[in-house]
């Protein structure tokens, strides 16, 4: 089963109604059905899809579509517009604390890409913003997590603060910030252990770190391949920590990445960066427009709209 983009899916209906002067409500229904399927196949959460399709339907039975000469294309345009609205504008700014250091905390499920993104962000801050970050190894659980961060620190030639695996992550974070002040680092990026959003103990630990160091940014790191569960994860992390932004990783793969829509819809928080590879310079600003096209089936959607 090859993935059919929305454009392919709508092609049939578009052909059918081409000759007609006017579109019926049944035609619109058929088209919104295809919209639903395309979004579900792209891993957008089914509840999010339901609301979304409802909004599209309302607009699609309106005059602008029903009386258009190219109703099929108009529906695609409505979908694209609604999606772009939902995704918001581009927001890749990183907070700056009034009094340095600015503290960033990385959180997320196991294996999402927190440690790698910690290295990438530090690299970006130095290269693009001329900053002098310090990395903090607060994952005391995963085997060789500290080692992993230290290796990245070495590759970047940047200091990594660690107290080994016996210290408490809250103490590690606090002492790291003291050290950063002494050594005049303007950014501190705390790498935390991966955890399940339903793990009360470990989520409590993150809340403790948060209360204790009062971070300027909390980035939720999410794997772009995540399926329907993305809403549970994002909602839960956001409820418990009030995250400030999202980093979507592994977008260099061939996933549609519908999780992006789900996450944005349930948290309202901006997706700020996109991980585009394993290397430390492969972090980009997140482009909501491009993401919307990707989820719907890439360039062909745009070309259809242009024909409209």
């Amino acid at each position: 089963m090859a993935f059919e983009g929305l454009a392919d899916r709508l092609q049939k209906t578009i052909q059918k109604i081409k000759g007609k002067g006017k579109v019926s409500e049944a035609d619109v229904k058929e088209m919104t059905r295809e919209v639903r399927l395309a979004l579900l196949e792209a891993d957008v959460n089914f509840k999010v899809v339901k609301d979304f399709v409802k909004r599209v339907k309302e607009r699609a039975v309106g005059q602008e579509v029903m009386e258009s000469l190219t109703p099929g294309q108009q529906v695609i345009k409505v979908v694209k517009d609604e999606l772009s609205d939902l995704m918001g504008g581009e927001q890749s700014k990183i907070a700056v604390a009034n009094k340095p250091p600015t503290v960033i905390m990385m959180v997320g499920l196991q294996g999402a890409g927190k440690t790698t993104t910690t290295g990438k962000l530090a690299n970006l801050l130095r290269k693009k913003h001329n900053r002098n970050p310090m990395l903090v190894a607060a994952d005391i659980y995963r085997p060789a997590a500290i080692n992993q961060l230290q290796t990245l620190g070495k590759q970047l030639d940047m200091p990594v603060f660690s107290l080994g695996t016996e210290a408490n992550p809250v103490d590690i974070a606090n002492q790291a910030i003291e050290k950063a002040k002494e050594e005049h680092h303007d950014y501190v990026i705390i790498d935390t252990a991966g955890r399940l959003h339903v793990d009360e103990n470990l989520m409590g630990e993150l809340q403790e770190i948060k209360e204790s160091v009062n971070p300027d940014e909390i980035f939720l790191v999410v794997d772009a391949m995540t399926g329907q569960d993305a809403v549970n994860v994002a909602e839960s992390f956001n409820e418990q920590l009030d995250v400030s932004g999202v980093v979507l990783t592994k977008l260099d793969g061939d996933t549609r990445g519908g999780a992006a829509i789900s996450i944005k819809a349930v948290t309202g928080k901006p997706i700020k960066f996109a991980g585009m590879g394993e290397k430390l310079d492969e972090l980009e600003a997140f482009h909501p427009e491009r993401m919307a096209s990707r989820i719907l089936g890439m360039g062909d959607v745009l070309s259809l709209i242009e024909k409209a």
Binding site: P143, L149, V198, M225
Partner: protein
Amino acid sequence: TKTRDSFATKMNDLVAKYRKVDEEFFEELEEILISADVGVETVMELIEELEMEVKRRNIKDTSEVIEVISEKLVEIYYGDDEQEVEQLNLNENGLSVILFVGVNGVGKTTTIGKLAHMLKEEGKTVMLAAGDTFRAGAIEQLEVWGDRVGVEVVKHSEGSDPAAVIFDGIQAAKSRGADVLLCDTAGRLQNKVNLMNELAKVKRVITREIPEAPHDVLLVLDATTGQNAMSQAKTFSEATDVSGIVLSKLDGTAKGGIVLAIRNELSIPVKFVGLGEKVTDLQAFDANSFVYGLFADMIDQSTSADE
């Protein structure tokens, strides 16, 4: 008791919530399965078949529909295969080599640690080969698992050729008379052609040393992954002829329903499930409890609504 908790009983609870097998019933069933990442296409096929069966057998009562649902799901899962394919394919008189493959961060290295423990408990001599020479800290991570479980790890330095490490692993395992060699590889996204070729080469090296090896190629899939898991299964199979799946991270809220579609389309069975980060958190796959898991939330809701 066991019987009370059985799948059928739970399904009973579920359908008891609906008095009629109507559109609403099928709608909820569809949503449950889609939210478990089973995939729209598979779900719609299933629902269509169910609706036909219900009509054909003239089923009006929800309790009768359970049987049909279970039948269909099990049918989708097993297809024409024998159940034995879910066992590890070990060579009982000599070295068995198991190759682990998968995209980044799914749980390959951790699963190797857990499986090493399981096999050691069964009295086997196990060795590990640190074939991920790329990711920062990957070799050290496998070494920690080796220490934890008490098995030897064959490694080279970071950045060296993975095929060479695996080659050395096989020689070492042969000379020590080990029963099983578990080979770690670096995570890679399936659309990276060079990296997939590298993996195919690793597999060729293994086969060159032992013609019937690797005895199993296990693809690790993260239960949190959505429809992309199908593309992973396809591409990794093309490169390495995957013989089984390990479904990791099932201890979260994700259901990993895509493995139903993978089994249905590609006939690759799930052999193990990962249920946490501890050494004991690996279990043999059980289709019944997996299918039950797909409906667990729905059943919890309906039972709590009864109370």
